[in-house]
């Protein structure tokens, strides 16, 4: 038993790997050990998140509509008529799947961020797909129609192809690592790194960007616009961190990733993630485990 444990421990080489946070440890020592299982849906369900953190004064995008059932879809066209731009998203999608950003009203419908025009019937079907769980691998989900966050001017220059957001990892309400996620043409308006977004490492203390990674390779400028990615000061950084910290305090989860966008009115919380990805370590070139240990994390 002991020797077996030693053999298994021997698999943990080399020495430098001690400082990085792997999936096994993230799941067992942080996601499951530090959170109660019944609290995890708070992060998985965007509606619940908004409700909870909104009550603590955290700014969130205004919810226009929520669809949960098939029968509610009869009046989609009438429901959406008042809005020129809005976002449709599943309340519990992953990797940004199922998110549709409508930016402009057209004669026969709305145009999305990639330039495709969606007729009301198309939107209705998209919402129906969400409700039936197509994007969430579950039997049922809810579709959220919410305000499209108008991007702050400096951020819009840095990220003209879609809404950028700041992902901050909070452990015990302390910000540990942060990165800015910038959409590209390849990611089609989405900020997720998997989809082709740029990960830009951010110094938590100052809010200044330090390095950037795109599709696994270091980059210095935005691949589509040539805008310099490094040395950029994220506007209103103290307020971004404050919004994140209030969020972290208002949810009963000890280890979260908070996604915060910069709107013209200030930072807005988009969502929180109970199992934030580990790529943030590569983006910042900072191993997370040693940081977490300093904050009193498990071994």
């Amino acid at each position: 038993m002991k020797s077996l444990a030693r053999v298994l421990r021997g698999l943990r080489l080399p020495a430098g790997s001690d400082r990085i946070l792997g999936l096994n440890r993230r799941n067992l020592s942080y996601v499951y050990a530090q959170n109660r299982l019944r609290d995890l849906p708070i992060a998985d369900d965007k509606l619940k998140t908004k409700e909870l953190v909104g009550a603590h004064g955290v700014p969130v995008p205004t919810t226009y509509r929520v669809y949960r059932h098939f029968f509610e879809l009869g009046a989609v066209e009438r429901d959406l008529a008042p809005y020129d731009e809005f976002v449709i998203k599943p309340s519990n999608g992953r990797y940004g799947s199922g998110i549709l950003v409508l930016t402009e009203r057209r004669e026969d419908g709305w145009m999305d961020i990639t330039g495709t025009v969606h007729r009301p019937a198309d939107l209705r079907r998209h919402i129906l797909d969400i409700v039936f769980g197509t994007y969430t691998n579950e039997l049922q989900s809810a579709a959220l129609v919410e305000e499209r966050v108008p991007q702050q001017a400096d951020m819009a220059r840095m990220s003209p192809l879609g809404l950028a957001d700041v992902r901050i990892i909070f452990y015990r309400e302390q910000p540990t690592l942060a990165m800015l996620r910038v959409p590209t043409r390849r990611s089609r308006g989405k900020a997720n790194l998997h989809q082709g977004g740029i990960g830009v490492g951010v110094d938590v203390a100052t809010g200044r960007t330090v390095r950037a990674l795109w599709r696994g390779q270091p980059v210095e400028v935005h691949p589509d616009t040539g805008f310099p990615l490094i040395g950029f000061l994220i506007p209103d950084w103290e307020e971004v961190v404050r919004v994140g910290t209030v969020t972290a305090r208002s949810v009963p989860l000890k280890y979260i990733g908070a996604d915060i966008a910069l709107s013209v009115h200030g930072p807005v919380l988009l969502e929180i993630n109970a199992r934030p990805g580990l790529e943030i370590q590569n983006v910042n070139e900072v191993p997370l485990r040693s940081l977490l240990r300093e904050l009193g994390g498990r071994r």
Partner: protein
């Protein structure tokens, strides 16, 4: 933590204790875990019918001291099949009163011949008088001339002195037929005398000459006919002689030179050298053998377990009576081990797979088809149904109906492969029935989901990872040694659970993460 450690220790030690008790006190045969080679033989036969009665028959091999033959299955089509004994042999006969068109019937069985060497005492004398039941094997029979002057002369030439022991006589005859008669491939069966005259013959002629010479020397002898088993569709028939010495029919192969022994791939089909196949005139008869070689737990072990106390086989013996095959039970017992392997690949190596258990199910299905055709079938189904799913995306269907269509596509693809498998003679492909269709449908959907969420490359990586783990699981599930072990000691499952518990608390960095975070790990500087 104390409870966890105790539980793991208990789950490790308990099986060790039970196994020790079984081996030491209950006498479980620890030496019989080395697997045996087994051949599964399938024979398909085709005949034409034009409205007349058609009959065909074939000698069916049976078990004897040298070979085990079992699990006979007959497919009868529009025939009536009947197995009866004919002299020393068993014969299966397919009969139809009126037959139209081309029809195919078949037979499958498994065979486990063993290499068995007989020793003939040096001082053993030829008996002047043999018991009456051996008389037919001492006199002339068709193709085997005994009182022929040429045969007599040949015997005198190869063995001048009349007085000699049995082994000396047999060695001389064996040597003569092996070296003096050239082995040639020829379709016609020469008799003993013609073989002697020509100095060349096929194994039939050589065997007849051997038999005639042995009988002339007052040794009871008979020809035997069988197959030299090898994997695949090309099978070789072979005749050899059997001589009755000391209460046994001892084999002699004058073609390959086997003396008083045969190698373990010789399968005896019938005694005598009558035609193996008989069929009605004008039936345009054709046949094809197909043989696969596999490792299997020793039958001696399974037999020993059946009578041993405290074993799961008493239960599985009961299941066998209900025609639940032993193979399936062995497979089920190894599933948890396969799942453990998957866990190791996922959590220690860091390979992504579709689902936690899909690889073990695919590996189990590959047990029927072989790894090559199994993975081919798996990839064909995933890519084919993936294309269908992609096409459906344009139609904009709701989720459940779309999944139903993909499900149908999976089944259609499977059927198509089975049909083509039969048509092109790839029988492995025809045995795809065990493929977990529902799970394959979900896998197709998962592939599409990963592709849309994380890109095609990520989905392809997951597919490749799945295949790697399928290969590993296949190795586990088809290991005859592991099968023997788990059938004898199902308590090993507790040990598997113990290992699962260890993995469940293992928070080390995965091997693939070492690669992913290589810059961070080897850069060696903390900011």
């Amino acid at each position: 933590m104390g409870f966890y450690r105790g539980l793991v220790a208990l789950l490790f030690l308990l099986p060790v204790g039970i196994m020790g008790y079984k081996v030491i006190s209950l006498g479980y045969p620890a030496s019989e875990f080395i697997p045996a080679v087994r051949y599964s033989v399938s024979l398909t036969m085709e005949v034409d019918g034009d409205g007349e009665a058609v009959a065909l028959s074939i000698a069916v091999p049976s078990s004897d001291v040298r070979q085990f033959v079992g699990e006979h299955h007959y497919s009868s089509g529009s025939f009536v099949v009947d197995v009866s004994s004919e002299g020393e042999n068993r014969v299966a006969t397919w009969k139809a009163d009126t037959l139209w068109g081309r029809q195919s019937v078949g037979m499958t069985f498994v065979a486990e011949p063993s290499r068995r060497r007989y020793s003939i005492p040096e001082g053993l004398r030829v008996l002047a008088k043999q018991p009456s039941f051996l008389q037919p094997y001492l006199v002339a029979s068709e193709g085997i001339q005994v009182e022929d002057p040429l045969v007599e002369a040949a015997l005198r030439q190869i063995f001048p002195s009349g007085e000699a022991g049995v082994p000396q006589v047999l060695r001389a005859i064996h040597e003569f037929v092996r070296t003096r008669i050239e082995t040639v491939a020829q379709p016609e069966s020469l008799d003993a005398v013609t073989t002697l005259k020509l100095g060349q013959a096929s194994s039939t002629g050589k065997t007849r000459l051997f038999t005639a010479l042995a009988r002339s020397a007052h040794l009871p002898a008979r020809p035997a006919r069988g197959l030299v088993l090898r994997e695949g569709a090309r099978q070789q028939f072979r005749d050899w002689a059997e001589v009755y010495v000391g209460g046994h029919w001892i084999p002699f192969d004058p073609v390959e030179g086997w003396f008083a022994e045969l190698p373990s791939n010789y399968l005896k089909l019938a005694s005598g050298d009558a035609a193996l196949f008989r069929y009605s005139d004008g039936a345009n008869f054709q046949y094809a053998y197909h043989v696969t070689r596999e490792l299997t737990p020793k039958r001696e072990l399974l037999e020993a377990l059946r009578s041993a106390r405290l074993n799961a086989l008493n239960l599985s013996g009961a299941l066998e009576r209900m025609h639940i095959p032993m193979d399936l039970i062995q497979l089920l017992l190894l599933f948890p081990l396969g799942a453990l392997f998957i866990t190791v690949f996922r959590n220690v190596v860091g390979i992504h797979t579709f689902g936690t258990f899909l690889p073990v199910l695919i590996a189990a299905a590959c047990e029927q088809t072989g790894l090559l055709w199994g993975t081919f079938g798996f990839l064909t189904i995933i890519s084919g149904s993936g294309l269908v799913r992609h096409g459906l995306d344009r139609l904009g269907l709701l989720h459940s109906p779309k999944m139903s269509i993909v499900f149908t596509a999976v089944i259609a693809l499977m059927m198509a492969m089975m049909v083509f498998g039969v048509r092109w003679g790839i029988f492995e492909l025809a045995r795809m029935t065990l493929f977990p269709v529902a799970i394959l449908t979900v896998t197709t959907e998962r592939f599409a989901l990963i592709q849309s969420e994380q890109g095609f490359w990520e989905a392809a990586k997951t597919l490749i990872g799945t295949l790697v783990v399928v290969v590993a699981c296949y190795g586990v599930l088809t290991s005859a040694f592991l099968r023997s072990l788990f059938v004898a000691f199902p308590e090993l499952l507790l040990m598997v659970v113990a290992l699962d518990l260890c993995l469940g608390k293992w928070v080390g960095v995965r091997l693939m993460e070492l690669f992913r975070f290589r810059r961070l790990i080897w850069q060696g500087q903390e900011p």
